[in-house]
């Protein structure tokens, strides 16, 4: 019977040639696009309505809204990536503008300059050791959530949602670190829960 013979002759360990070819083609496309985007990044305008630290904190107290601090340096690649992928995304930017009072804190120390005392004080208050760092603070300033480093748009959106939920539940708090030295914030390479 030819059908049975055919089934018997078919190897149970057949190499997935088509799948390997597709995977190889996609890998080649990935590397090529990665190089192209590195050389010529796709720029997206920042759509978040940023405030200065003083004005933002006062506005948050008046309206009872959460403050989202973004400690950033425009010359740093991860900071530009965060701006492009999250703050340049219309849906994410709308959500941030609706739910937070966004405050941008420009750090110029890492580029060889000096930070104003206000920036130094804010960095000391939240233990900022890496850029970019996002901090979500309750309107009264009692609870804060920190994400150090940039782990991608999805991880950042997840952090913002978790931070919103955690800050809104009094007595809770956690610090999340992405891509930074394990001992600088929170004592772990991942995320820790505490105050």
């Amino acid at each position: 019977m030819p059908a049975t013979d055919g089934a018997r002759s078919r190897s149970s360990r057949a190499t997935p040639v088509t799948l390997l070819a597709i995977a190889g083609a996609l890998l080649a496309a990935r590397v090529t696009l990665g190089i192209v985007e590195h050389v010529r990044p796709v720029e997206r305008p920042d759509l978040v309505e940023w405030r200065d630290p003083g004005a933002g904190e006062a506005e948050a107290r008046v309206h009872g809204k959460l403050v989202l601090y973004c400690f950033t340096d425009e010359r740093s690649d991860p900071c530009r990536q965060l701006s492009r992928e999250v703050f340049g995304d219309p849906m994410a930017a709308t959500s941030i503008n609706e739910h937070f009072i966004p405050v941008r804190v420009l750090d110029s120390k890492r580029a060889g300059g000096h930070n104003p005392p206000g920036v130094e004080a804010l960095e000391a208050r939240f233990g900022v050791k890496q850029l970019p760092t996002l901090v979500v603070v309750s309107p009264d300033g009692a609870h804060s959530q920190i994400q150090a480093g940039y782990g991608g748009a999805l991880a950042t959106r997840q952090f913002l949602s978790q931070a919103t939920a955690m800050v809104m539940m009094p007595g809770r708090g956690f610090r999340m670190r992405i891509g930074g030295p394990p001992d600088s914030i929170g004592g772990g390479a991942d995320s820790t829960i505490g105050r």
Partner: protein, 236 residues
Amino acid sequence: MNQTLFAAAIRQRAQSPPRLALVLGFFTLPLLPMAFVHGIGLLPLQTAAAYAFILGAGIIGQDFSAGTLQLLFARPVSRGEYVVSRWLAIGAAVTSLVLIQIAIGSGLLAARGETPPPSALALFAGTQILSGFGTVSLLLLLSSFLPGIGDILGVIVLGLAAQGVQIAGSLFHAPWVVRAGVELSRFAAPALDLSQVFTGGPVPWFDVASYFSTVTLCLALAIVILNRRELSYASD
């Protein structure tokens, strides 16, 4: 795909009480803030990766350690068919959970007059489904050579390695090393944010290629690795 293997994989996961308890926790807990916190939206429902870890842990490794594969491959079943059926089964289970949870979450939001627009709902659901299938793909690859639920340990090690490479790159001011770490972390958490693809701005083709490259590479390598594994009928 083999329908029998597909159904068996789902049945196997559904008969594990620890997995069911964890799934129940991740199903109900994110819905709580949605019922009480004003303006929180769908954001707490980013649970696809968690479901994938819970249902996908030991996706091949457990069968290997339990001796199931030795019996299974004595039958006319190809190893590729087995891998793809497992991947689709766990992916489909994660997708079902995600869709049911989003439906309930949307109901809760609608009851408070905060109904999300259908387009946002679709993009959110799509992103979660891709995240689920992506995570299952990675587990599949790691599980093809790690015993038991060693794939979970593999993901943790991969994530820590990615962070370590990024830290080393930062310390030594080597942007390419940092980039390698970022790519490693992208591989360790395959996901594609559909809202960035479909919201009118420039399409992030690199992200699209990265996601599908990771998924296909994981699937293909899992089949190749399993093809090369020798199954012993004796154990120590």
